[in-house]
């Protein structure tokens, strides 16, 4: 799988503060990577470098073979910032038209209608941004990021202002985009969200990648849980193969067994373990 985004030895310092400290990261084509980490871990900085808003201090990022920030790279990306604002006077349709012109998208009215429909704003084409809720603006932001059919989508906390229905819409949009071959970098604090949609997860702490892998790999075996007549017993670190031995041991000890189950560590537990309780 070739890389849609490739970061090598990426470093960024703001004055004396190091935001990124040698990050190596790849996103394959058609892959959805979740970027996790506490506030100040460097997630937004990494995303901004990838879309050319911030220059790295050292190292570099390539987007589909082009240097990040170059005109060629920017023509391939869609971006939604964590803190964004659209002009309040513009309607959804006017905003998308503006971005179509800047992106050189020939999609016209059909593309605008399709994207507004995709994010559940089909009835809001003529609604001004200033009359929209924060959640609607965030969904409009996703539609804006999809103008010109980008091959790499960079989303920084795209569901932070959304209600559960809005989050589900975005989840379905991301699933559909991945299925159509779009690569996605998703920055989020919503771990269940990330666990549900991401192919791979990277955890950034202090500007370094401290854990990386598929959610199923990261959340490996968490032990065996047995409901007995005297209460629940948890056998940490044990696997499915250990179950017969555990049950035999308990029965021999006079316990009555009611239920046996395998326990998995959640992404949240993995995350908390990785960040060591740090918060920004």
């Amino acid at each position: 799988m070739s890389a849609a985004l490739s970061a090598h030895g990426l470093q960024k310092s703001y004055g004396g503060k190091r935001a990124l400290d040698g990050v190596d990261l790849e996103i394959g084509e058609g892959e959805l990577l979740g970027l996790l980490g506490p506030n100040g871990a460097g997630k937004s900085t990494l995303t901004k470098i990838a879309c050319g808003l911030v220059s790295p201090t050292d190292g570099g990022v390539e987007v589909l073979g082009h240097a990040a920030g170059s005109r060629e790279a920017r023509a391939e990306i869609g971006y939604l910032a964590e803190l964004f604002r659209f002009p309040g006077w513009a309607t959804s349709d006017e905003l998308l038209t503006l971005h179509q012109r800047l992106a050189g998208s020939p999609g016209g009215e059909a593309e605008r209608s399709r994207l507004l429909d995709l994010v559940g704003l089909a009835d809001a084409a003529g609604t001004r941004v200033e009359a929209m809720s924060k959640g609607m603006q965030q969904r409009l932001g996703i539609a804006q990021a999809l103008i010109g059919s980008p091959r790499l989508l960079l989303l920084d906390e795209p569901t932070s202002a959304l209600d559960p229905v809005g989050r589900r819409i975005v989840r379905e949009v991301l699933d559909g985009l991945r299925d159509s071959g779009v690569s996605i970098l998703l920055n989020s604090h919503l771990l269940t969200e990330v666990e549900l949609v991401c192919d791979r997860v990277s955890i950034l702490v202090g500007g370094r990648v401290v854990r990386e892998g598929r959610p199923s790999e990261l959340v490996g075996p968490g032990g065996v849980k047995v409901e007995t007549g005297t209460g629940t017993k948890v056998f940490e670190g044990r696997t499915r193969e250990d179950v017969p031995g555990i049950v035999a041991e308990l029965v021999a000890a006079g316990e009555e067994i009611y239920e046996v189950g395998l326990r998995h560590a959640s992404l949240e537990e993995i995350y908390l373990d990785a960040v060591g309780g740090k918060t920004g």
């Binding site: 901004k48 604002r85 006077w89």
Partner: protein, 288 residues
């Protein structure tokens, strides 16, 4: 995508932003009020100066004196209103919009930052200069109608004034790269005020024959060439008026003692280009 595509789009965006933010509505209302008051003032000034001049022995031409003085006042007001418009059209264009999150979605599009910044300047500059020319010719029409007076040169002073406002727009764009919106507005108006003060010092230096004050004014005109262009425009109003009338007018508060010669005009073009080059350089290097 053609080269004009993104430029036209960004200019259009800037103009619509100005329209929707009601900048134009406010400026239009203020301009109408100004023109009405100016017409009233011109009417009474020309009427009353006749009786005042009757007792002065004919040393000064009352119509020229009144016309150029009151039109010089109009030029100052037009420069001020044009500067206000230029500053508001460029307010927060870079750092202010970046801090509010408006700029990032636009900058990630495949349009160069320099193209984006120069387009914003073009939009603001075109609009502000068109405004200045419209109000200038409206005031000229009012003055001519009210007092049957016209300046020695009609087109040149208007163009000079418009150019001065374009330079203020360029300065404002440059400051917007480094300062947030409020600080930008304050800084540009302080620079604007400093330029006007330098011009007044030059006038005073001429009147009292002070070489030092005159030099300060001269340096001010070159460091802030919008002031030199403004003073040159005032000078062009009465540059062909001779005798005591011409002498008095050129030393008055709305007279210009120095013509905006070719060197100043050439320097102004280079100055504006340099200001915009530095602004583009700063914008390209800026983390957003």
């Amino acid at each position: 995508m053609s080269a004009l595509g993104p430029v036209g789009t960004i200019i259009g965006y800037a103009l619509r932003e100005g329209l929707r933010r009601r900048i134009f509505a406010v400026v239009l209302a203020l301009t109408v009020a100004f023109l009405v008051l100016y017409a009233v003032a011109a009417h009474f000034a020309f009427r009353d100066v006749q009786s005042f001049a009757a007792g002065q022995g004919g040393l000064i031409d009352p119509v020229s004196f009144t016309g150029s003085t009151i039109f010089g006042l109009a030029m100052f007001s037009i420069l001020f209103l044009g500067a206000v418009l230029a500053v508001f059209l460029t307010l927060g264009v870079v750092r202010g919009d970046a801090e509010s999150g408006l700029l990032q979605p636009l900058v990630v599009r495949p349009v160069g930052r320099s193209v984006m910044l120069l387009s914003r300047f073009a939009g603001a500059g075109l609009l502000a200069t068109a405004y200045v020319l419209c109000v200038y010719f409206a005031c000229l029409g009012i003055t001519t109608t009210a007092g049957d007076w016209s300046p020695d040169h009609a087109l040149g002073p208007g163009v000079g004034l418009a150019f001065a406002v374009a330079i203020i727009a360029a300065l404002s764009i440059l400051v917007s790269v480094f300062l947030s919106a409020t600080a930008q507005g304050i800084a540009v108006f302080m620079v604007f005020g400093a330029g006007l003060v330098a011009g007044l010092l030059d006038q005073i230096g001429q009147a009292i024959d002070s070489g030092t004050l005159h030099s300060i004014g001269q340096v001010g005109s070159w460091v802030l060439p919008f002031e030199g262009l403004y003073a040159g425009s005032l000078h062009a109003l009465v540059s062909d008026t001779s005798g005591l009338t011409g002498f008095v007018l050129q030393l008055g508060p709305f007279g210009g003692s120095e013509a905006a010669g070719a060197p100043l005009i050439a320097w102004s073009v280079i100055y504006a280009a340099a200001i915009l080059t530095v602004a583009c350089w700063g914008f390209r290097r800026r983390d957003l």
